[in-house]
Protein backbone atom coordinates (compact mmCIF):
# COMPACT_ATOMS: atom_id res chain seq x y z
CA UNK A 1 0.00 0.00 0.00
CA UNK A 2 2.59 2.53 1.13
CA UNK A 3 4.99 1.23 -1.50
CA UNK A 4 2.35 1.76 -4.17
CA UNK A 5 1.55 5.27 -2.95
CA UNK A 6 5.26 6.12 -2.87
CA UNK A 7 5.82 4.67 -6.34
CA UNK A 8 3.00 6.62 -7.97
CA UNK A 9 4.06 9.76 -6.08
CA UNK A 10 7.67 9.59 -7.32
CA UNK A 11 6.71 8.39 -10.80
CA UNK A 12 4.17 11.17 -11.31
CA UNK A 13 6.69 13.79 -10.24
CA UNK A 14 9.41 12.35 -12.49
CA UNK A 15 7.14 12.41 -15.52
CA UNK A 16 5.72 15.82 -14.66
CA UNK A 17 9.15 17.32 -14.04
CA UNK A 18 10.46 15.81 -17.29
CA UNK A 19 7.59 17.39 -19.20
CA UNK A 20 8.21 20.72 -17.49
CA UNK A 21 11.91 20.48 -18.36
CA UNK A 22 11.12 20.75 -22.05
CA UNK A 23 8.05 22.96 -21.67
CA UNK A 24 9.36 25.76 -19.47
CA UNK A 25 10.43 28.92 -21.27
CA UNK A 26 13.27 29.90 -18.97
CA UNK A 27 16.33 27.64 -19.30
CA UNK A 28 17.14 28.01 -15.60
CA UNK A 29 13.68 26.70 -14.77
CA UNK A 30 14.35 23.81 -17.15
CA UNK A 31 17.50 22.85 -15.29
CA UNK A 32 15.70 23.05 -11.95
CA UNK A 33 12.92 20.79 -13.24
CA UNK A 34 15.57 18.40 -14.50
CA UNK A 35 17.10 18.30 -11.02
CA UNK A 36 13.65 17.60 -9.63
CA UNK A 37 13.34 14.67 -12.04
CA UNK A 38 16.79 13.33 -11.03
CA UNK A 39 15.94 13.53 -7.37
CA UNK A 40 12.64 11.71 -7.74
CA UNK A 41 14.28 9.09 -9.94
CA UNK A 42 16.59 8.49 -6.99
CA UNK A 43 13.45 7.97 -4.90
CA UNK A 44 12.31 5.30 -7.38
CA UNK A 45 15.71 3.62 -7.11
CA UNK A 46 15.30 3.43 -3.35
CA UNK A 47 11.90 1.80 -3.85
CA UNK A 48 13.37 -1.00 -5.95
CA UNK A 49 16.03 -1.57 -3.29
CA UNK A 50 19.00 -0.05 -5.12
CA UNK A 51 19.80 2.43 -2.37
CA UNK A 52 23.48 2.70 -3.31
CA UNK A 53 22.66 3.66 -6.90
CA UNK A 54 20.09 6.14 -5.60
CA UNK A 55 22.61 7.87 -3.37
CA UNK A 56 25.19 7.94 -6.16
CA UNK A 57 22.61 9.43 -8.51
CA UNK A 58 21.99 12.26 -6.06
CA UNK A 59 25.66 12.81 -5.18
CA UNK A 60 27.03 12.69 -8.71
CA UNK A 61 24.24 14.02 -10.90
CA UNK A 62 22.33 16.32 -8.58
CA UNK A 63 25.24 17.36 -6.41
CA UNK A 64 27.92 17.90 -9.02
CA UNK A 65 26.85 17.64 -12.66
CA UNK A 66 23.60 19.56 -12.37
CA UNK A 67 25.20 22.29 -10.24
CA UNK A 68 27.75 22.95 -12.98
CA UNK A 69 24.96 22.81 -15.53
CA UNK A 70 22.94 25.34 -13.55
CA UNK A 71 26.05 27.44 -13.15
CA UNK A 72 26.56 27.65 -16.91
CA UNK A 73 22.91 28.19 -17.77
CA UNK A 74 22.55 30.96 -15.21
CA UNK A 75 25.44 32.86 -16.75
CA UNK A 76 24.26 32.44 -20.33
CA UNK A 77 23.07 35.57 -22.01
CA UNK A 78 20.35 34.17 -24.23
CA UNK A 79 18.11 36.03 -26.59
CA UNK A 80 14.90 34.04 -26.31
CA UNK A 81 13.34 35.52 -29.44
CA UNK A 82 16.33 34.49 -31.55
CA UNK A 83 16.21 31.05 -30.04
CA UNK A 84 12.55 30.51 -30.93
CA UNK A 85 13.08 31.78 -34.46
CA UNK A 86 14.85 28.53 -35.35
CA UNK A 87 11.87 26.45 -34.28
CA UNK A 88 10.26 25.84 -37.68
CA UNK A 89 13.64 25.15 -39.26
CA UNK A 90 14.61 22.54 -36.66
CA UNK A 91 11.14 21.06 -36.26
CA UNK A 92 11.59 18.17 -38.78
CA UNK A 93 14.81 17.04 -37.09
CA UNK A 94 13.19 17.23 -33.67
CA UNK A 95 10.16 15.29 -34.88
CA UNK A 96 12.43 12.62 -36.34
CA UNK A 97 14.27 12.20 -33.03
CA UNK A 98 10.96 12.10 -31.18
CA UNK A 99 9.63 9.43 -33.55
CA UNK A 100 12.73 7.28 -33.02
CA UNK A 101 12.44 7.61 -29.24
CA UNK A 102 8.74 6.77 -29.33
CA UNK A 103 9.40 3.70 -31.46
CA UNK A 104 12.08 2.57 -29.02
CA UNK A 105 9.75 3.06 -26.08
CA UNK A 106 7.04 1.00 -27.78
CA UNK A 107 9.59 -1.69 -28.62
CA UNK A 108 10.83 -1.78 -25.05
CA UNK A 109 7.28 -1.99 -23.68
CA UNK A 110 6.47 -4.77 -26.13
CA UNK A 111 9.62 -6.69 -25.24
CA UNK A 112 8.90 -6.26 -21.55
CA UNK A 113 5.35 -7.57 -21.85
CA UNK A 114 6.66 -10.53 -23.87
CA UNK A 115 8.58 -11.70 -20.81
CA UNK A 116 12.04 -11.22 -19.39
CA UNK A 117 15.13 -12.46 -21.23
CA UNK A 118 17.11 -15.28 -19.72
CA UNK A 119 20.47 -13.97 -18.58
CA UNK A 120 23.16 -16.54 -19.16
CA UNK A 121 26.20 -17.23 -17.03
CA UNK A 122 29.40 -18.81 -18.41
CA UNK A 123 28.67 -22.19 -16.80
CA UNK A 124 25.04 -22.12 -17.91
CA UNK A 125 23.50 -21.86 -14.45
CA UNK A 126 20.76 -19.37 -13.66
CA UNK A 127 21.62 -16.02 -12.12
CA UNK A 128 21.07 -16.15 -8.39
CA UNK A 129 19.76 -13.25 -6.38
CA UNK A 130 21.94 -13.00 -3.28
CA UNK A 131 21.23 -11.56 0.12
CA UNK A 132 24.04 -9.02 0.27
CA UNK A 133 23.76 -5.28 0.36
CA UNK A 134 24.05 -3.24 -2.84
CA UNK A 135 27.46 -1.88 -1.96
CA UNK A 136 28.95 -5.31 -1.37
CA UNK A 137 27.42 -6.78 -4.51
CA UNK A 138 28.61 -3.90 -6.68
CA UNK A 139 32.02 -3.85 -5.02
CA UNK A 140 32.49 -7.58 -5.53
CA UNK A 141 31.69 -7.21 -9.23
CA UNK A 142 33.64 -4.01 -9.91
CA UNK A 143 36.75 -4.98 -7.96
CA UNK A 144 36.51 -8.68 -8.72
CA UNK A 145 35.28 -9.83 -12.09
CA UNK A 146 35.44 -6.47 -13.89
CA UNK A 147 38.59 -5.09 -12.24
CA UNK A 148 40.42 -4.70 -15.56
CA UNK A 149 37.58 -2.84 -17.28
CA UNK A 150 37.07 -0.72 -14.19
CA UNK A 151 40.69 0.32 -14.05
CA UNK A 152 40.81 1.01 -17.79
CA UNK A 153 37.80 3.30 -17.35
CA UNK A 154 39.62 5.03 -14.51
CA UNK A 155 42.74 5.55 -16.64
CA UNK A 156 40.66 6.92 -19.52
CA UNK A 157 39.01 9.44 -17.20
CA UNK A 158 42.39 10.43 -15.79
CA UNK A 159 43.77 10.96 -19.28
CA UNK A 160 40.70 13.02 -20.19
CA UNK A 161 41.21 15.16 -17.10
CA UNK A 162 44.88 15.71 -17.83
CA UNK A 163 43.97 16.53 -21.42
CA UNK A 164 41.49 19.17 -20.30
CA UNK A 165 44.08 20.71 -18.00
CA UNK A 166 46.77 20.70 -20.69
CA UNK A 167 44.41 22.29 -23.22
CA UNK A 168 43.40 25.12 -20.92
CA UNK A 169 46.73 25.66 -19.21
CA UNK A 170 48.44 28.89 -20.11
CA UNK A 171 52.06 29.37 -19.18
CA UNK A 172 52.55 32.74 -17.51
CA UNK A 173 53.64 35.24 -20.12
CA UNK A 174 57.03 36.88 -19.59
CA UNK A 175 56.43 40.27 -18.06
CA UNK A 176 53.08 39.29 -16.60
CA UNK A 177 52.47 39.84 -12.90
CA UNK A 178 54.45 37.42 -10.79
CA UNK A 179 52.51 34.45 -9.53
CA UNK A 180 51.63 34.31 -5.88
CA UNK A 181 53.90 32.51 -3.50
CA UNK A 182 51.72 31.86 -0.50
CA UNK A 183 54.57 30.82 1.78
CA UNK A 184 56.37 34.05 0.99
CA UNK A 185 53.19 36.01 1.67
CA UNK A 186 52.56 34.43 5.04
CA UNK A 187 56.21 34.78 6.06
CA UNK A 188 56.10 38.52 5.43
CA UNK A 189 56.32 40.55 8.63
CA UNK A 190 55.57 44.25 9.26
CA UNK A 191 59.29 44.96 9.65
CA UNK A 192 59.97 43.75 6.09
CA UNK A 193 57.24 45.87 4.58
CA UNK A 194 57.27 49.14 6.50
CA UNK A 195 59.88 51.65 7.57
CA UNK A 196 59.50 54.10 10.44
CA UNK A 197 60.48 57.66 9.55
CA UNK A 198 60.46 60.72 11.74
CA UNK A 199 61.04 63.65 9.38
CA UNK A 200 61.66 67.20 10.48
CA UNK A 201 58.92 69.72 9.74
CA UNK A 202 59.11 70.84 6.14
CA UNK A 203 61.69 68.16 5.31
CA UNK A 204 59.80 65.44 3.44
CA UNK A 205 60.74 61.79 3.36
CA UNK A 206 63.58 60.36 1.32
CA UNK A 207 62.42 57.05 -0.13
Amino acid sequence: MIQAIAFYFFATIVVGAAVMTIMSKNPVHSVLWLIMAFFNAAGLMVLVGAEFIAMLLVIVYVGAVAVLFLFVVMMLDIDFAAMRAGFSRNAPLGLAVAAVLLAELLLAAGAYSAGGIQLGTPDGSAVQAVEVSNIEALGALLYGRYILLFEIAGIILLVAMIGAIVLTFQAPKPGARARQDVDKQTRRRPEDATVMKNPEIGQGVDL
Binding site: V28, L32, F52, M55, I59, V62, A64, V67, M74, V182
Partner: protein, 379 residues
Protein backbone atom coordinates in the same frame (compact mmCIF):
# COMPACT_ATOMS: atom_id res chain seq x y z
CA UNK B 1 7.89 3.38 18.70
CA UNK B 2 6.30 1.29 15.96
CA UNK B 3 5.45 -1.33 18.55
CA UNK B 4 3.63 1.29 20.62
CA UNK B 5 1.41 2.31 17.72
CA UNK B 6 0.87 -1.33 16.81
CA UNK B 7 -0.38 -1.94 20.34
CA UNK B 8 -3.09 0.66 19.63
CA UNK B 9 -4.47 -1.77 17.06
CA UNK B 10 -2.99 -0.33 13.87
CA UNK B 11 -1.59 -2.50 11.09
CA UNK B 12 2.20 -2.63 10.79
CA UNK B 13 2.39 -0.31 7.82
CA UNK B 14 0.26 2.42 9.33
CA UNK B 15 1.90 2.10 12.73
CA UNK B 16 5.29 2.44 11.02
CA UNK B 17 4.18 5.50 9.06
CA UNK B 18 2.76 7.24 12.12
CA UNK B 19 5.81 6.37 14.22
CA UNK B 20 8.12 7.73 11.51
CA UNK B 21 6.18 10.98 11.21
CA UNK B 22 6.16 11.35 14.99
CA UNK B 23 9.91 10.75 15.18
CA UNK B 24 10.55 13.25 12.37
CA UNK B 25 8.48 15.90 14.17
CA UNK B 26 10.27 15.26 17.48
CA UNK B 27 13.74 15.40 15.93
CA UNK B 28 12.92 18.48 13.85
CA UNK B 29 11.55 20.34 16.86
CA UNK B 30 14.53 19.40 19.01
CA UNK B 31 16.96 20.44 16.27
CA UNK B 32 15.17 23.78 15.94
CA UNK B 33 15.28 24.28 19.70
CA UNK B 34 19.00 23.46 19.75
CA UNK B 35 19.54 25.91 16.91
CA UNK B 36 17.88 28.65 18.94
CA UNK B 37 20.02 27.88 21.97
CA UNK B 38 23.17 27.52 19.93
CA UNK B 39 22.69 30.93 18.32
CA UNK B 40 22.54 32.32 21.85
CA UNK B 41 25.77 30.47 22.75
CA UNK B 42 27.41 31.74 19.60
CA UNK B 43 26.59 35.34 20.46
CA UNK B 44 27.71 34.86 24.06
CA UNK B 45 31.05 33.43 22.95
CA UNK B 46 31.60 36.25 20.48
CA UNK B 47 30.65 38.69 23.23
CA UNK B 48 33.09 37.15 25.68
CA UNK B 49 35.92 37.16 23.15
CA UNK B 50 35.38 40.82 22.32
CA UNK B 51 34.90 41.66 26.03
CA UNK B 52 31.20 42.44 25.77
CA UNK B 53 28.33 40.85 27.64
CA UNK B 54 26.51 39.46 24.62
CA UNK B 55 22.72 39.05 24.80
CA UNK B 56 21.62 39.59 28.40
CA UNK B 57 18.27 41.40 28.33
CA UNK B 58 15.55 38.98 27.22
CA UNK B 59 14.90 36.34 29.88
CA UNK B 60 17.38 35.16 32.53
CA UNK B 61 20.95 35.71 31.22
CA UNK B 62 19.39 36.61 27.87
CA UNK B 63 18.47 32.97 27.30
CA UNK B 64 15.29 33.86 25.43
CA UNK B 65 17.04 36.23 23.01
CA UNK B 66 16.78 33.83 20.05
CA UNK B 67 13.05 33.34 20.61
CA UNK B 68 12.54 37.10 20.77
CA UNK B 69 14.47 37.46 17.51
CA UNK B 70 12.38 34.71 15.98
CA UNK B 71 9.17 36.46 16.98
CA UNK B 72 10.42 39.78 15.65
CA UNK B 73 11.37 38.24 12.31
CA UNK B 74 8.05 36.42 12.14
CA UNK B 75 6.10 39.66 12.52
CA UNK B 76 8.06 41.54 9.88
CA UNK B 77 6.81 42.15 6.38
CA UNK B 78 8.00 39.80 3.66
CA UNK B 79 9.37 41.89 0.84
CA UNK B 80 9.69 40.33 -2.61
CA UNK B 81 11.65 42.47 -5.07
CA UNK B 82 9.61 43.20 -8.19
CA UNK B 83 12.42 42.10 -10.48
CA UNK B 84 12.87 38.82 -8.61
CA UNK B 85 11.90 35.48 -10.06
CA UNK B 86 9.10 35.01 -7.56
CA UNK B 87 8.67 31.25 -7.42
CA UNK B 88 12.34 30.40 -7.13
CA UNK B 89 12.92 33.34 -4.81
CA UNK B 90 10.45 31.86 -2.33
CA UNK B 91 11.50 28.26 -2.95
CA UNK B 92 15.20 28.83 -2.16
CA UNK B 93 14.92 29.40 1.63
CA UNK B 94 12.48 26.50 1.88
CA UNK B 95 14.98 24.19 0.18
CA UNK B 96 17.84 25.35 2.40
CA UNK B 97 15.78 24.76 5.52
CA UNK B 98 14.30 21.42 4.48
CA UNK B 99 17.63 20.01 3.37
CA UNK B 100 19.26 21.11 6.63
CA UNK B 101 16.62 19.17 8.57
CA UNK B 102 16.48 16.14 6.24
CA UNK B 103 20.09 15.15 6.93
CA UNK B 104 19.25 14.51 10.60
CA UNK B 105 17.29 11.40 9.61
CA UNK B 106 20.36 9.16 9.78
CA UNK B 107 22.13 10.71 12.78
CA UNK B 108 22.15 8.26 15.72
CA UNK B 109 21.69 10.31 18.90
CA UNK B 110 22.23 7.29 21.10
CA UNK B 111 22.51 3.53 20.61
CA UNK B 112 19.49 2.92 18.37
CA UNK B 113 18.26 6.52 18.60
CA UNK B 114 18.00 7.07 14.87
CA UNK B 115 15.01 7.65 12.61
CA UNK B 116 16.29 5.69 9.62
CA UNK B 117 19.04 3.19 10.36
CA UNK B 118 19.88 2.68 6.68
CA UNK B 119 23.08 0.99 5.57
CA UNK B 120 24.08 3.85 3.27
CA UNK B 121 23.74 6.47 6.02
CA UNK B 122 26.99 8.27 5.28
CA UNK B 123 26.23 8.43 1.55
CA UNK B 124 22.79 9.78 2.39
CA UNK B 125 24.39 12.63 4.33
CA UNK B 126 26.74 13.35 1.43
CA UNK B 127 23.80 13.34 -0.96
CA UNK B 128 21.69 15.64 1.18
CA UNK B 129 24.52 18.04 1.90
CA UNK B 130 25.27 18.26 -1.81
CA UNK B 131 21.69 19.48 -2.23
CA UNK B 132 22.15 22.37 0.16
CA UNK B 133 24.07 24.31 -2.47
CA UNK B 134 20.86 24.67 -4.47
CA UNK B 135 19.19 26.85 -1.86
CA UNK B 136 22.07 29.30 -2.08
CA UNK B 137 22.45 29.23 -5.86
CA UNK B 138 18.71 29.60 -6.46
CA UNK B 139 18.39 32.49 -4.02
CA UNK B 140 21.33 34.27 -5.59
CA UNK B 141 19.97 33.90 -9.09
CA UNK B 142 16.33 34.61 -8.30
CA UNK B 143 17.13 37.80 -6.40
CA UNK B 144 18.10 39.37 -9.74
CA UNK B 145 20.70 41.50 -8.04
CA UNK B 146 24.41 41.41 -8.61
CA UNK B 147 25.75 40.91 -5.10
CA UNK B 148 23.57 37.90 -4.31
CA UNK B 149 24.57 36.44 -7.65
CA UNK B 150 28.29 36.82 -6.94
CA UNK B 151 27.71 35.26 -3.57
CA UNK B 152 25.84 32.32 -5.08
CA UNK B 153 28.66 31.69 -7.55
CA UNK B 154 31.19 31.76 -4.74
CA UNK B 155 29.09 29.45 -2.59
CA UNK B 156 28.60 26.91 -5.36
CA UNK B 157 32.32 26.74 -6.17
CA UNK B 158 33.29 26.63 -2.50
CA UNK B 159 30.87 23.87 -1.52
CA UNK B 160 31.73 21.66 -4.50
CA UNK B 161 35.48 22.10 -3.89
CA UNK B 162 35.34 21.12 -0.26
CA UNK B 163 32.89 18.28 -0.80
CA UNK B 164 35.60 16.55 -2.83
CA UNK B 165 38.08 16.42 0.05
CA UNK B 166 35.31 15.60 2.55
CA UNK B 167 34.44 12.64 0.34
CA UNK B 168 38.00 11.29 0.51
CA UNK B 169 38.18 11.81 4.27
CA UNK B 170 34.98 9.80 4.62
CA UNK B 171 36.51 7.04 2.49
CA UNK B 172 39.31 6.71 5.09
CA UNK B 173 36.78 6.41 7.91
CA UNK B 174 34.70 3.90 5.97
CA UNK B 175 37.80 1.81 5.25
CA UNK B 176 38.44 1.54 8.97
CA UNK B 177 34.81 0.94 9.93
CA UNK B 178 33.92 -1.36 7.03
CA UNK B 179 30.40 0.09 6.81
CA UNK B 180 28.48 3.15 5.65
CA UNK B 181 25.98 2.78 8.46
CA UNK B 182 26.35 5.61 10.97
CA UNK B 183 25.69 3.38 13.98
CA UNK B 184 28.08 0.80 12.58
CA UNK B 185 30.83 3.43 12.35
CA UNK B 186 30.29 4.31 16.01
CA UNK B 187 30.28 0.64 17.10
CA UNK B 188 33.56 0.13 15.28
CA UNK B 189 35.16 2.88 17.36
CA UNK B 190 34.55 1.09 20.65
CA UNK B 191 37.94 0.44 22.26
CA UNK B 192 39.68 1.49 19.03
CA UNK B 193 42.64 3.29 20.61
CA UNK B 194 44.81 0.70 22.43
CA UNK B 195 41.64 -1.06 23.50
CA UNK B 196 40.56 1.78 25.81
CA UNK B 197 39.83 4.94 23.83
CA UNK B 198 36.51 5.09 21.97
CA UNK B 199 37.56 7.37 19.13
CA UNK B 200 39.02 7.10 15.66
CA UNK B 201 40.89 10.35 16.02
CA UNK B 202 43.73 8.81 18.06
CA UNK B 203 45.00 6.85 15.06
CA UNK B 204 47.98 8.58 13.41
CA UNK B 205 46.41 8.05 9.98
CA UNK B 206 43.03 9.40 11.02
CA UNK B 207 44.06 12.40 13.10
CA UNK B 208 45.24 14.45 10.07
CA UNK B 209 42.06 13.40 8.28
CA UNK B 210 40.02 14.71 11.16
CA UNK B 211 41.82 18.07 10.92
CA UNK B 212 41.04 18.17 7.20
CA UNK B 213 37.43 17.21 7.90
CA UNK B 214 37.02 19.84 10.58
CA UNK B 215 38.40 22.64 8.41
CA UNK B 216 36.37 21.41 5.44
CA UNK B 217 33.24 21.42 7.55
CA UNK B 218 33.90 25.07 8.35
CA UNK B 219 34.16 25.72 4.61
CA UNK B 220 31.18 23.54 3.76
CA UNK B 221 28.91 25.46 6.14
CA UNK B 222 30.41 28.80 5.00
CA UNK B 223 31.45 29.60 8.53
CA UNK B 224 34.24 32.01 9.36
CA UNK B 225 37.06 32.07 8.29
CA UNK B 226 35.47 30.80 5.06
CA UNK B 227 32.32 32.94 5.11
CA UNK B 228 33.11 34.51 1.76
CA UNK B 229 29.54 34.05 0.63
CA UNK B 230 28.52 36.61 3.22
CA UNK B 231 31.60 38.81 3.13
CA UNK B 232 29.86 42.03 4.12
CA UNK B 233 32.69 44.29 3.00
CA UNK B 234 32.43 42.94 -0.54
CA UNK B 235 28.95 41.54 -1.05
CA UNK B 236 26.56 43.43 1.30
CA UNK B 237 24.98 40.34 2.94
CA UNK B 238 25.67 37.81 0.22
CA UNK B 239 22.90 35.66 -1.18
CA UNK B 240 20.43 36.74 1.49
CA UNK B 241 20.68 40.46 0.72
CA UNK B 242 17.21 40.69 -0.80
CA UNK B 243 15.52 38.51 1.78
CA UNK B 244 13.47 39.73 4.69
CA UNK B 245 11.30 38.37 7.46
CA UNK B 246 10.68 34.61 7.60
CA UNK B 247 12.36 33.90 4.26
CA UNK B 248 15.54 35.33 5.78
CA UNK B 249 14.99 33.44 9.03
CA UNK B 250 14.76 30.13 7.16
CA UNK B 251 18.25 30.70 5.75
CA UNK B 252 19.48 31.60 9.16
CA UNK B 253 17.98 28.53 10.84
CA UNK B 254 19.08 26.25 8.03
CA UNK B 255 22.62 27.54 8.27
CA UNK B 256 22.84 26.81 11.98
CA UNK B 257 21.16 23.42 11.57
CA UNK B 258 23.89 22.61 9.02
CA UNK B 259 26.58 23.75 11.43
CA UNK B 260 25.15 21.50 14.14
CA UNK B 261 25.00 18.65 11.64
CA UNK B 262 28.67 19.09 10.80
CA UNK B 263 29.53 19.18 14.53
CA UNK B 264 27.63 15.95 15.09
CA UNK B 265 29.37 14.38 12.09
CA UNK B 266 32.73 15.25 13.63
CA UNK B 267 31.50 13.56 16.79
CA UNK B 268 30.13 10.46 15.10
CA UNK B 269 32.91 9.82 12.63
CA UNK B 270 35.99 10.63 14.67
CA UNK B 271 35.17 11.08 18.34
CA UNK B 272 33.10 8.02 19.16
CA UNK B 273 29.56 9.36 18.87
CA UNK B 274 27.44 8.36 21.84
CA UNK B 275 30.23 6.26 23.38
CA UNK B 276 32.05 7.67 26.42
CA UNK B 277 35.62 8.79 25.65
CA UNK B 278 37.17 5.84 27.49
CA UNK B 279 35.97 2.26 27.31
CA UNK B 280 35.42 1.92 31.06
CA UNK B 281 32.23 0.38 32.46
CA UNK B 282 31.16 3.12 34.95
CA UNK B 283 31.19 5.73 32.18
CA UNK B 284 28.51 3.73 30.34
CA UNK B 285 26.09 4.55 33.17
CA UNK B 286 25.84 8.04 31.68
CA UNK B 287 23.22 7.89 28.90
CA UNK B 288 24.71 7.87 25.40
CA UNK B 289 22.86 10.99 24.30
CA UNK B 290 24.65 12.99 27.02
CA UNK B 291 28.05 12.05 25.57
CA UNK B 292 26.80 12.76 22.06
CA UNK B 293 25.46 16.19 22.98
CA UNK B 294 28.55 17.08 25.03
CA UNK B 295 30.89 16.24 22.16
CA UNK B 296 28.73 18.03 19.61
CA UNK B 297 28.56 21.08 21.84
CA UNK B 298 32.34 21.02 22.22
CA UNK B 299 32.68 21.20 18.44
CA UNK B 300 30.18 24.01 18.28
CA UNK B 301 32.24 25.95 20.82
CA UNK B 302 35.27 25.41 18.58
CA UNK B 303 33.25 26.76 15.64
CA UNK B 304 32.35 29.96 17.50
CA UNK B 305 35.85 30.30 18.94
CA UNK B 306 37.25 30.17 15.41
CA UNK B 307 34.65 32.67 14.23
CA UNK B 308 35.72 35.07 16.95
CA UNK B 309 39.45 34.62 16.36
CA UNK B 310 40.40 34.01 12.75
CA UNK B 311 40.26 36.66 10.00
CA UNK B 312 38.46 35.89 6.77
CA UNK B 313 40.27 34.07 3.97
CA UNK B 314 40.75 35.53 0.54
CA UNK B 315 38.88 33.64 -2.16
CA UNK B 316 41.98 32.44 -4.02
CA UNK B 317 43.47 31.25 -0.73
CA UNK B 318 40.30 29.29 -0.08
CA UNK B 319 40.46 27.59 -3.47
CA UNK B 320 44.17 26.90 -3.04
CA UNK B 321 43.59 25.28 0.33
CA UNK B 322 40.80 23.10 -1.03
CA UNK B 323 42.32 21.94 -4.29
CA UNK B 324 46.08 22.17 -3.80
CA UNK B 325 46.44 21.22 -0.14
CA UNK B 326 43.48 19.18 1.08
CA UNK B 327 42.74 17.22 -2.09
CA UNK B 328 46.26 15.80 -2.63
CA UNK B 329 46.64 15.26 1.10
CA UNK B 330 43.39 13.34 1.47
CA UNK B 331 44.12 11.31 -1.69
CA UNK B 332 47.50 10.39 -0.24
CA UNK B 333 45.89 9.39 3.03
CA UNK B 334 43.29 7.23 1.27
CA UNK B 335 46.16 5.34 -0.35
CA UNK B 336 48.15 5.22 2.90
CA UNK B 337 45.13 4.08 4.93
CA UNK B 338 44.18 1.30 2.56
CA UNK B 339 47.81 0.21 2.31
CA UNK B 340 48.16 0.18 6.09
CA UNK B 341 44.94 -1.74 6.55
CA UNK B 342 45.94 -4.30 3.93
CA UNK B 343 49.39 -4.70 5.50
CA UNK B 344 47.98 -5.21 8.99
CA UNK B 345 45.33 -7.65 7.78
CA UNK B 346 42.40 -5.47 8.90
CA UNK B 347 40.15 -6.67 6.08
CA UNK B 348 40.79 -10.35 6.88
CA UNK B 349 39.94 -9.86 10.53
CA UNK B 350 36.76 -7.85 10.11
CA UNK B 351 34.96 -8.39 6.79
CA UNK B 352 32.32 -5.80 7.67
CA UNK B 353 31.12 -4.68 11.02
CA UNK B 354 27.72 -6.24 11.54
CA UNK B 355 26.22 -5.57 14.95
CA UNK B 356 24.59 -8.59 16.51
CA UNK B 357 20.83 -7.99 16.05
CA UNK B 358 20.07 -9.35 19.51
CA UNK B 359 22.56 -7.01 21.19
CA UNK B 360 21.31 -3.84 19.53
CA UNK B 361 18.39 -2.16 21.26
CA UNK B 362 15.40 -1.57 19.01
CA UNK B 363 15.69 1.53 16.85
CA UNK B 364 13.79 4.70 17.55
CA UNK B 365 11.49 3.73 14.72
CA UNK B 366 11.75 0.04 13.99
CA UNK B 367 12.36 -0.48 10.33
CA UNK B 368 12.44 -3.88 8.68
CA UNK B 369 13.50 -6.19 11.54
CA UNK B 370 10.17 -6.01 13.36
CA UNK B 371 8.18 -6.42 10.17
CA UNK B 372 5.88 -9.43 10.44
CA UNK B 373 6.55 -12.35 8.10
CA UNK B 374 3.27 -11.89 6.23
CA UNK B 375 4.04 -8.30 5.33
CA UNK B 376 7.55 -9.23 4.21
CA UNK B 377 6.28 -11.95 1.94
CA UNK B 378 3.84 -9.52 0.36
CA UNK B 379 6.41 -6.85 -0.49
Amino acid sequence: MTAFFQSLGLSYEWAWSIATVAAIVIVALLVMFSVAMVIYVDRKVIGAVSMRRGPNVVGPFGLLQSFADGLKVFLQETIIPTAANKGIFLLAPIITFTVALAAWAVIPFWDGGVIANINVGLLYILAISSLSVYGVVMSGWASNSKYPFFSAMRAAAQMISYEVSIGFVLVCVVLFAGTFNMSGIVYAQQGFGLGVINAYVVHPLLFPMWVVFFISSLAETARAPFDLTEAESELVAGYQTEYSSMSFALFWLGEYANILLMCSLNTLLFWGGWLPPIDWAPLYLVPGIVWFLLKTFMFFLMFSWIWATVPRYRYDQLMRLGWKVFLPMSLLFVAATSGWLMATGHFDRAPAFVPDPAAVPPAFVDTTPAQPEAARAKS
